[in-house]
């Protein structure tokens, strides 16, 4: 399921990062890689702050929709 559907505070495993090549690479460099753990810290209107590899990353709704977890 997409990251936008995840409840805050629950750790989830990243399955796949989609989206445009450039953004996908940028997310990978930030630590969004398949198999990694991602936790949602807070969410406003679909935009979210997530914890990945001990850093906080803010991502827009459109991007969060393209990160598959499960």
């Amino acid at each position: 399921m997409p990251l936008t559907m995840v409840k805050a505070g629950e750790p989830n495993v990243i399955r796949k990062v989609g989206g445009k090549e450039e953004t996908k690479r940028f997310l990978e460099n930030l630590g969004f890689v398949a198999g990694g753990i991602v936790t949602v810290v807070s969410e406003i209107g679909g935009n979210m702050i997530v914890n990945v590899k001990d850093s906080r990353v803010a991502i827009g709704k459109d991007m969060a929709n393209k990160i598959m977890v499960g």
Binding site: F26, N29, G36, I44, I49, V52, R56, A58, G60
Partner: protein
């Protein structure tokens, strides 16, 4: 013999703090050639022959952002003698990702694990010896904020740099990947030295065409790529990324133990409140209110009054000792040496009055910049971008555009410069074009003048100026987004949020000074020259065929009046087609705060208050209220002052874009002012003419541009010219 040490690390890892601590005031700040990425260089304290190069903060050596390209071109092309890699100890896994790439360059690396004080406080443990052994480089624990360990880190870096040795990476990937890399390394030409082979082999495998473009001979590796992609069922770039993280997790458990007890860090707890769905905007509004209240009405205005009325006015008292003001001191000095009248006029009425008026804004601006620097350094500014993104996205800008606009409310020059943090080229260009619509502190005297002279100081005039600015940004965002140049979705919002922390006083003051200085420099150079020019053209002219200096009563014979008369017809449709207003608008291009002073001079007052209280009556007699508001709108929106235009030119880095931005701003200002005047006159007096028809036509066109269907484009790319420019360093 001098050695070069490069500082490399992730954004927000404390690199700038460390750089400042290592070099002190011994810095040189410039730009990397051809691009608008800041380049900072400095000499290590106590070592004249050690140059420290502060590379931009990067997450990786991939070719996707300008900063990454600049950093890796420097590392490959200039080959510093050592790399000091700063690693955020609270976020070690992600930070080591860059470290694995730095170690492949063949340059000796010293790793400085920063924020050790926070790591220890949270009860986490980092085994430095183990880390050093696993990574094959020396590791030092530091806290850049507290200044602990930095000397040791610097000494180790200098020692290893002096050896001028090469280093080979220790870490290895999976056997399949290693065997492919080995095959590629064998194919590499002899122009690539042994220690760099691994870096180039990996980049070739990743299909990094910016690296292959720099190589003399590029071996064909399509076979190897096809082989490994088939074997591992992924593209090579993702394979390498994964391999790096797999390697890091394989060593991290031995080197790092996390205190599991606390689930949420204090930073997360703050974020739960500050970025809360309901509280985020009210908290943000409250913070902004405090910032502006303090910097505009209290501390800022005390300081500004002191400069305007004391230092440049009637003198001030220093603990009971009365100190004369600069103009009066100068005046008595000039009279004492028997200076010619015209020179006295130039110095006192021209230079001191002009430059002094500008410098009056400095204290207020510095107070504002202290607040903004604090908000930036403590981590709140990044959250603001996140909160505002939801709103800004609706009209085609990114949340990151908000920070330049906030700074631009103080001064447009640092505001435009702050647009550098926006990675996406289109978003950045649009931000540069629209930032100066927000009234900067220099435009406020114009607002005060018009409000006082024509509207009895009505409360709504000042807020309406901000409203006009914000509306101009929103409408420009929507209109420009639908043009070919800016079409396409804004880049998705992705931004790392640094953990909240208390910044050091030194860092805040430094940031305040860097921004304030860009304003003071403009007062010393461009404003100085232009006040001389304005003074000369105002006080000299032809009377009865004779060129001479003019009295205050003869100013309509001046050169400036002649210039004003030739162009004033342009502004007739806007309602202020007399030469004095035209001249005031022109001097506004030099610096917006000049507008009030120019009116003062032209109406025959040598010196006027900041809000021009003396000339309210004269001004009210010379134009209608609607015309005055049209004048105000034009001056708020049209091309900013020369200094800000210079900043736009620098940041656009392209003459065509610069002229497009200036042209767009001026055209928009003209059209809006025209509509305000024509339609306003129709409402107040019922006068209907050709101008009214044009105004309604323009309004219709404007609505069409706002509402026309949106064309999706698929050209989302970072500007390759800029990146190519970075390559030719």
């Amino acid at each position: 013999m001098s050695v070069k040490i490069a500082l490399a690390g992730n954004p927000n890892c404390g690199k700038t703090t460390l750089f400042n601590a290592l070099t002190g005031s011994n810095q040189f700040v410039g730009n990397w050639p051809g691009v608008t990425v800041e380049k900072k260089e400095g000499k290590l304290k106590g070592h004249k022959d050690v140059i420290i190069m502060d590379l931009p903060g990067i997450y990786s050596l991939s070719p996707y952002t300008l900063e990454e390209v600049v950093a890796r071109n420097y590392l490959i092309g200039e080959r510093p003698d050592a790399i000091l890699n700063i690693v955020d100890g609270t976020n070690i896994e992600r930070n080591l990702y860059l470290s694995t790439q730095l170690m492949e360059l063949g340059i000796p690396v010293i790793m400085a694990v920063n924020m050790m004080d926070i790591v220890e406080k949270s009860g986490d443990k980092i085994n430095i010896q183990k880390l050093s052994q696993k990574l094959g480089c020396e590791v030092v624990e530091i806290s850049a904020l507290k200044g602990t360990g930095i000397q040791k880190a610097a000494e180790k870096a200098v020692a290893i740099a002096n050896k001028k040795s090469v280093a080979l990476p220790v870490h290895k990937f999976a056997t399949e990947v290693e065997s492919v890399l080995e095959q590629i390394e064998l194919k590499l030409g002899s122009d690539i030295s042994e220690e760099q082979k691994r870096f180039f082999a990996i980049k070739l495998l990743e299909k990094d065409d910016k690296i292959s473009a720099q190589m003399k001979s590029v071996p064909d590796v399509t076979e190897e790529i096809a082989q490994i992609e088939k074997e591992m069922d992924d593209d090579t770039e993702s394979i390498i990324t994964n391999e790096r993280y797999v390697y890091i997790s394989s060593i991290i458990n031995e080197c790092y133990s996390k205190n599991k007890k606390e689930k949420l860090t204090s930073s997360d707890k703050i974020d739960k409140i500050v970025t809360n769905r309901w509280l985020a905007l009210p908290i943000f509004a409250a913070v902004m209110f405090v910032v502006y209240y303090v910097s505009v009405t209290t501390i800022g205005s005390w300081a500004t009054d002191w400069v305007n009325d004391g230092v440049f006015g009637d003198g001030w008292s220093f603990f009971g000792i009365s100190v004369p003001s600069i103009p009066s001191m100068l005046e008595s000095g000039l009279i004492a040496v028997g200076c010619a009248d015209w020179l006295q006029g130039l110095i006192l009425d021209g230079i001191v009055a002009g430059v002094g008026a500008v410098l009056g804004f400095v204290p207020q601006m510095l107070v504002l910049f202290v607040f903004l620097a604090f908000l930036e350094a403590c981590g709140y500014m990044a959250r603001v971008a996140f909160i505002m993104d939801r709103i800004f996205r609706k009209f085609g800008l990114s949340g990151k555009s908000f920070i330049p606009m906030l700074i631009g409310s103080g001064c447009g020059v640092p505001g435009i410069m702050a647009s550098r943090t926006i990675e996406n080229d289109r978003d950045r260009k649009m931000t540069i074009m629209t930032t100066t619509f927000i009234p900067c502190s220099a435009k406020l005297p114009i607002v005060a003048l018009i409000a006082g002279a024509l509207f009895n100081g009505s409360w709504w005039v000042a807020p309406s100026a901000y409203f006009v600015g914000i509306a101009a940004i929103i409408c420009s965002g929507i209109i420009l987004k639908k043009t070919k140049m800016f079409a396409g979705e804004p880049a998705p919002f992705v931004m790392e949020l640094p953990a909240y922390h208390m910044p050091t006083v030194g860092n805040i003051l430094r940031s305040m000074w860097e921004r304030g200085w860009s304003f003071i420099k403009k007062a010393g150079t461009i404003i100085l020259l232009s006040t001389i020019f304005v003074w000369f053209t105002t006080y000299f002219g032809w009377v009865d065929g004779q060129f001479r200096m003019l009295d205050d009563m003869e100013l309509n014979h001046s050169i400036l009046a002649a210039i004003g008369n030739t162009i004033s017809w342009l502004f007739i449709p806007l309602g202020w087609g007399d030469w004095k207003s035209a001249v005031a608008a022109i001097t506004g291009l030099v610096a917006k705060e000049n507008v009030v002073g120019t009116f003062g001079i032209l109406f025959g007052f040598a010196e006027v208050e900041e809000n021009g209280a003396e000339i309210w009556g004269t001004l009210a007699g010379s134009m209608t209220a609607v015309a005055a508001y049209s004048f105000l709108v034009f001056n708020l929106l049209c091309a900013p002052c020369f200094a800000a235009m210079g900043a736009i030119k620098r940041e656009m880095n392209n003459a065509k874009w610069f002229w497009f931005a200036i042209g767009y701003q001026t055209l928009l200002a003209y059209v809006v002012a025209l509509c305000v005047y024509q339609i306003g006159t129709l409402i107040t007096t019922g006068a209907f003419g050709f101008g009214t028809v044009v105004a309604f036509g323009l309004v219709a066109l404007f609505i069409y541009l706002l509402a026309r269907p949106y064309k999706e484009s698929n050209t989302l790319k970072i500007n390759l010219n800029r990146v190519a420019g970075a390559k030719n360093m």
